[in-house]
Structures are given as C-alpha cells and as structure tokens.
C-alpha cells in the first residue's frame, strides 16, 4: 500500500512537469495544457490529504478547482483565438506590443 508521501511525491513530479512545460514550450495551447497538468497535480495532493485525514473537504476543493480550471480554460482559449486572429501565430514571443 502506498503511503501519503508516495502520493505527494507523484504530485510534485507532475507539478514539475507542468512547470517545465510552461517554461520550455513556445506554443500558447501547450502552455495552457501545462497549466492543466499543474492544476491536476494539486488536485491529486488534495485528494490524498483528504483521504489521509478522513474528511470530504479534499474532494470538495477538487470540485472547486475543476470549476476554476474550466473557467480559466474557456477565457484562456478565447484570448488565444483573439491573439491568433491578430498575428496568425501561437508563439508567445510574437506578442510584444506591451514590451518596453
């Protein structure tokens, strides 16, 4: 049987993969997908903690995190579509209008 630490280590590894994706990739869609990986890593640690403490709050906060993730995905993808219409590109380096 895996312990709480095993789940937390798995969650840390997944979160790191998401962070690396945000840093390494230059495609706005893949960056949004990496953010979803990070949110899921956090969800896993919430469920593991909820199981360890024997409460339902772990699963309830997962519900709220998923709601916020859905809102974030909808708004983020709308922004991506609007940006793509302007520049015909998904490379974040192409959007430098706010840069000094």
């Amino acid at each position: 049987m895996p312990s709480l630490n095993d789940y937390l280590i798995l969650s840390a590894v997944l979160f790191t993969i998401g962070t690396a994706g945000v840093f390494v990739r230059r495609n706005l869609i893949t960056i949004l997908l990496s953010i979803e990986i990070m949110l899921n890593a956090v969800n896993l640690s919430f469920v593991a903690f909820g199981r360890a403490f024997g409460t339902v709050e772990g699963q309830i906060i997962v519900f709220f995190v998923m709601t916020v993730a859905a809102a974030e995905a909808a708004v983020g993808l709308a922004i991506v579509i609007a940006l793509f219409r302007h520049r015909e590109s998904l490379n974040p380096d192409a959007f430098t209008a706010l840069k000094w």
Binding site: N5, T16, R26, I29, E36, A52, T55, V80, S89, L90
Partner: protein, 172 residues
Amino acid sequence: MLFYFFGALAVIASLLVIAQRNPVYSVLLLITSFGALSGLYVLLDAPFAAAIQIIVYAGAIMVLFLFVVMLLNTPHEDTDADEKTHPMLRPGPMRFGAAMAVALLGELAWALSRSGPSSTFSNTPVTSLSAIGYTLFTDYAFQFEVTSVLILVAMVGAVLMARREDQPGEKR
C-alpha cells in the same frame, strides 16, 4: 501495485504532452494522463473525484481544447529554429527554464523528505456521495453559488473576446 502503474502512466503521458510538437497529440496524451489520475482517485477511495475527473476534465475541458486546436489549424510551432530542434533541446532561456523546473523538483523532494515516514492510510474512508453533497450544499453553499457567478463571468468574457470585430451590421 496499481498505484505504480497509474503513477507511471500519468508521469509518462504528461512528459509526452510537453514533448510533442503537434498540439492534437498533446491534448490526447493529456486525456490519457487524466484517465490515470482518475484511477489514482479510485485507489484513494474518492469515486466522486474520479467521476468528475473523467466527465468534466477529460470529457468537457479537453474537448474544448481539441476544438480550439482544430479551429486554429497550426499543428507545428511556426519558426524555422523550432522546426529543426526538438522543444526539449533548445538553447538559452528554455534551458534555463528547464533548469528552474528541475530545481523546483529538488526543492519539493527535499521538503517531502524532511517530513519523516508517513504511514499508509488507516482511517476509514469517506466515500459516500451523500456526505459530499451534504457538506457541499451546507458548509460550502456560499462558495458554490459564487462558483456559478464565476462560470457566468467566464462565459460572457469568452464570448466577448472570441467575437469577430468586423461583423457586418455591428455598430462600434
């Protein structure tokens, strides 16, 4: 044993998500990763979280991503240097970013190793949906309602931002 299977599946699929050039493959691999995470939730005696992981995440949010990927129709990152080198092997700030991510993993592993040995889960699990629903609609009723406002705002914002600005008959 199942924990290691699902954990390895989630880690490998997530790694492939950020290593793929084609966003369609990335989205499909991320759905695989979410399926593995759903299996982990079942192992953690959280069937509600497992079900909404599949239904909401893999079924709704990822399909939304897939729609946008197919709508925008840009399968590859679009500079010449990006076409030639694999995303994980690019120079400069990308390598620095990857180093930052490895440093983050080191810090997290260090913090977890300081916590001492943790036992396996011994207390009785709360698996009943009625317990979750009761807590959600009594203790967290206000947060639940705020969530609906958040969804409404996100919906209006998404429609407003993705709208074409040169539609005929529109006064600006």
